[in-house]
Point group: C2
């Protein structure tokens, strides 16, 4: 499968991780072409760390892996939506989602 | 409200737009500090176009505005999750979501 068309504008694209069962958005991380390839091959998420400048397998230290159900590109092929089955929690803070400070910037809900 | 802490690593941050009622992820776009400020002030989404290098108000040409219910930062303040009430559809293709090619890259669902 040719994945290069997702990396024509940038070496990194944002991947939105969504819980397959609840629809909750769990986190956003970045993928380069190699991490997307590894994700497809292994069936578990791999990302690219901008700070460490290296690939990382989600859950490698925490054990909180993400089994991939579906990867969907957006209309112009520069973002990915990834549905997963999350083991444990997604956030390093111990919260299920990295977006746990609900409405912190604005809240009209 | 000081918004500068969301733009310390980069001038642009990704904003995930999610349908408040259905939980469907509608699109991903980028915000700079000015577009986030306008979004909060007006209650409707404004983004920054990387290709046109300018602010744009979502729905300005299509009429498909996004009323903002909630803006939530992620754990390290470099991505935003925005819950909206979408007028019409979110995608310029006429689809509700920009992620309409469900499972195109991978599908084990």
């Amino acid at each position: 499968m040719d994945l290069s068309n997702y990396f024509t504008k940038s070496d990194l694209i944002p991947a939105i991780i969504q819980d397959e069962k609840t629809g909750e958005v769990l986190m956003l991380a970045y993928m380069n072409q190699e991490s997307l390839k590894k994700t497809i091959e292994t069936g578990y998420t791999w990302f690219y760390s901008r700070s460490r400048k290296s690939l990382w397998r989600k859950g490698e230290t925490s054990g909180n892996f993400q089994k991939v159900i579906r990867i969907t590109p957006d209309c112009d092929d520069d973002a990915l939506l990834i549905s997963v089955i999350q083991t444990g929690v997604a956030c390093h803070t111990g919260n299920m989602s990295c977006f746990y400070r609900k409405g912190k910037v604005m809240d009209n809900g």
